[in-house]
């Protein structure tokens, strides 16, 4: 700094910073700039007093305005609920078929039902409602207890084989290991597998058909198309809840797996169940 450089043209000293021969003039800053700078410092301090900021030992200062982001979220949620409220009332007052007929209400119910599905149903039916072995896929067109909107609503309301609900969907398939011998089970399994054109032991089929008519047709029907009153699955289609093929069928005949679904009516309330039913109905496989 000892060799103070003075710019010849302006007569102002330079800061000593130089870029490619260009020097920075050491002009004084405008006074308003300095005041603005002080004002921002004051603003910064005032801000920490007006709003929650300073950490204390176990909490923090609350601020003069009493602002809290949590309270703001609660307010926003209340505002959103108020907007939703009118639609919830509408959905509450209408039957599920009325809702399906009204495009606006249907899309709102699908959104609400989709949200409820993600919380309550995905654990068994999967996030895409695609199910898995033993848990039905809700996208397809095969319905154990009926695929019409009100049938779906009934199933969700009261559950399947759910002990706590008097109106639950209920049926039991006997364990045929106690009724049929091993050979007979083989034969009837081969017959059932052959219904869908799957690989089957041909020599078993004739006997199997007789065993089926005697033991299985009562529930699954003489044509093996199933019975929705009893939740008896259609054995002639491409959808197998507990696996396809002779071996899987034999296992099911011997000692059947039967799904259980809780009744949701009491837990979620009528409106939420209605929305869920609309959502499931809108997945594309319903009737």
């Amino acid at each position: 700094m000892s060799d103070k450089h003075i710019d010849k043209i302006s007569g102002v000293s330079t800061t000593g910073h130089e870029w490619d021969g260009i020097r920075e003039l050491n002009n004084p800053m405008p006074r308003w700039w300095v005041w603005t700078f002080y004002a921002t410092i004051f603003w910064g301090l005032a801000y920490t007093i007006a709003y929650p900021a300073w950490p204390l030992l176990t909490s923090s200062t609350k601020g003069l305005f009493g602002y809290s982001s949590r309270a703001e979220v609660v307010q926003d949620m209340a505002a959103a609920d108020a907007i939703r409220g009118s639609y919830v009332e509408l959905i509450k007052g209408k039957t599920i078929n009325d809702i399906l007929a009204d495009e606006t209400l249907r899309s709102i119910a699908v959104s609400a039902g989709g949200a409820a599905f993600k919380v309550n149903c995905v654990q068994c039916h999967g996030s895409g409602a695609q199910g898995s072995s033993g848990y039905p896929n809700l996208n397809d067109d095969d319905w154990l207890w009926g695929g019409k909107a009100d049938a779906i609503q009934q199933t969700i309301n009261h559950g399947v084989r759910f002990a706590g609900d008097g109106q639950t969907r209920d049926s039991v398939m006997p364990a045929f290991a106690d009724v049929l011998d091993r050979k007979q089970i083989q034969e009837v399994s081969s017959y059932v597998a052959s219904l869908t054109g799957a690989a089957a032991e041909q020599s078993n089929i004739a006997h199997g058909a007789v065993i089926f008519a005697d033991n299985c047709a009562a529930c699954h029907g003489a044509d093996a198309k199933g019975n929705r009153e009893l939740g008896a699955p259609d054995l002639t289609d491409a959808i197998w809840l507990n696996g396809s093929g002779e071996a899987a069928i034999a296992a099911q005949v011997k000692s059947p797996k039967m799904g259980v679904m809780p009744a949701w009516g009491d837990r979620l309330g009528e409106t939420a169940v209605k929305e869920l039913a609309v959502f499931v109905h809108s997945l594309g496989g319903s009737e």
Partner: protein, 542 residues
């Protein structure tokens, strides 16, 4: 303890020095070139108060041109939102409207949806290159004529002059002690300024909503809180920047001067004091001439300084503060006219011309400026003096800028005229990717977004094409009939979302991943849009 020992040390040293000095001859002491860094002689203030500027009213060609530019730019700003443009019953009838709530931008016959924002980006690119073009050609013309800061400061100065008088009256008033008259004048001036500021802030919000409705809502207190906020903020900034801060904004706050200065070259026009004919300046020209002294054209009347809204002296040379408003040219031309000399002592000049003329006046830089060298014996300016001409403005650099700027403009116009007003976007269901139905057929789900970007209802036909054998389609919500094509009604200027299921019969899948196309076609003929989608099937279904 420490303090004591240091004191002892110092006193020892002093004693030693004293003894040493006594031992030497005084003349042998060398004077060192040393200076305290904080001595009062060289100390500069860290900050300085603002020096008030009282620009005098100028008159002349450039001032007239600036009035016209001011009228046009302010006219555009205040009146545009009130222009109407009929778009039918389904779209607003405001010619220029930025409809943030519905995410639409209307500009006369053009309607821009958010996904077409690249048009706005293109305009910004054009604005950038336009700035290069203008600055490299005519210097800081943006600053001097069209910058809102310049225009509003000009407007505020008109008010100031009308209320308080021209330069001298204002200086007198400013220096006068506070009196009733002074307070009254000031109150009137600031009130009018505030009215202008409110009108400025007020006009801004009309670009974002229907102007006639908004003005009614605004007055009756029913407009949105954001409208009042915006007006309040813009009123404050207009009043502050245009009325109070003025040249401080340009000098200290604005980045443009720095950027523009970097874009000038030796062939750009800048407002220049031609000292090759002005110097040596003298207030006593006649006496000097009689004495046989060589004198320039500048009579040092300071008219150029008095009119300058930035408060600078252009005769000090090109400087950062100069916004090239050319008012000093007007002022000087007026004086030259009175003196019977050629105009252009201060003029728009390129650095090249200036250097050539300077070389002429100094005989190639060998002597001080001698105005006699640029004049013929009859006293007129020599024909060797370089002047600006239109031809000098056309040079490779400006032509390239002009070319790029025009090319982008033409491409945007082409894109605008040929763009599609019907669009289709498809989202394939990913969970589940496919569904096996009871008859073994495979089903995929798609969410289709159909964009009808014109303000009238249209009927389109949705169909499938491509290599997807034995496929049919169904639409959710309408009783799910299956078919190959559907007629869909599109509301004016709206996006319609529909859910479509595509089903392929069992055993028909050629691969787990098949491509096909959704097509929508305006039933009235004309526009169509398609989207290539994929159809997933299980690995085992082939």
């Amino acid at each position: 303890m420490v303090g004591t020992s240091i004191d002892a040390c110092v006193s020892m040293t002093q004693t030693f020095l004293k003894t040493g000095a006594q031992m030497q001859d005084q003349s042998e002491i060398i004077r060192l070139e040393a200076d305290a860094v904080n001595s009062a002689r060289t100390r500069q203030p860290l900050y300085a108060p603002r020096r008030k500027i009282f620009p005098k009213r100028a008159s002349g060609d450039f001032r007239r041109f600036k009035w016209i530019v001011m009228a046009i730019t302010l006219g555009i700003y205040y009146l545009t939102p009130w222009l109407r443009w009929d778009r039918g019953p389904f779209a607003p009838d405001q010619a220029v409207l930025i409809d943030l709530a519905n995410r639409r931008f209307y500009f006369f016959f053009i309607e821009i949806w958010p996904q077409e924002f690249f048009f706005v980006a293109g305009l910004l690119v054009m604005a950038g290159i336009g700035l290069f073009l203008v600055t490299s050609t005519v210097g800081r013309a943006w600053c001097g004529y069209t910058c809102p800061q310049t225009v509003w400061v000009d407007l505020f100065l008109v008010v100031e002059r009308a209320i308080e008088g021209d330069r001298n009256a204002r200086i007198k008033l400013d220096a006068a002690p506070w009196s009733f008259t002074k307070v009254a004048t000031r109150v009137i001036k600031h009130t009018i300024w505030l009215c202008i500021a409110v009108a400025t802030g007020g006009a801004w919000i009309f670009y974002f909503a229907d102007a006639p409705k908004l003005v009614a809502d605004f007055v009756t207190g029913e407009a949105a809180a954001s409208a009042y906020m915006t007006v309040a903020i813009l009123t404050a900034t207009t009043y502050m920047f245009g009325g109070l801060m003025r040249e401080q904004v340009c000098t200290y706050m604005c980045p443009w001067p720095r950027i523009q200065a970097a874009m000038l070259d030796e062939t750009s026009l800048t407002v220049t004091y031609n000292d090759w004919r002005g110097e040596p300046r003298s207030r006593h020209a006649k006496r000097m001439a009689l004495a046989g002294e060589s004198i320039g054209d500048c009579v040092d009347c300071n008219a150029c300084v008095a009119v300058c809204p930035m408060g600078i002296d252009i005769r000090d040379g090109q400087q950062l503060e100069c916004i090239t408003c050319a008012l000093c040219i007007d002022a000087c031309d007026g004086v030259m006219d009175k003196l019977g000399k050629e105009r252009g002592l201060i003029s728009y000049t390129t650095l090249n011309d200036y250097n050539a003329n300077m070389a002429l006046a100094t005989a190639g830089g060998t002597r001080p400026v001698n105005p006699a060298l640029v004049r013929d014996p009859d006293g007129r300016l020599s024909s060797k003096v370089a002047h600006i001409s239109l031809r000098k403005l056309f040079r490779p650099r400006t032509l390239i800028y002009l070319g790029v700027w025009s090319a982008i403009g033409l491409f945007m116009v082409y894109a605008l005229l040929t763009r599609n007003r019907l669009e289709l976007n498809v989202l394939h269901d990913r969970n589940p990717q496919f569904v096996v139905l009871s008859d073994g057929s495979i089903r995929n789900g798609y969410t289709l977004k159909l964009l009808n970007m014109v303000p009238r209802q249209r009927n389109v036909r949705l169909s499938l094409t491509g290599s997807l054998p034995a496929a049919s389609m169904s639409m959710l919500g309408s009783g799910n009939p299956e078919g190959g094509a559907f007629d869909i009604e599109l509301e004016p200027d709206r996006l319609k979302t529909i859910k479509v299921f595509v089903r392929q019969a069992a055993g028909q899948a050629a691969s787990p991943l098949q491509e096909f196309k959704f097509i929508i076609e305006d039933s009235a003929g004309g526009e169509r849009a398609d989207y290539t989608a994929t159809f997933n099937a299980p690995e085992t279904a082939q």
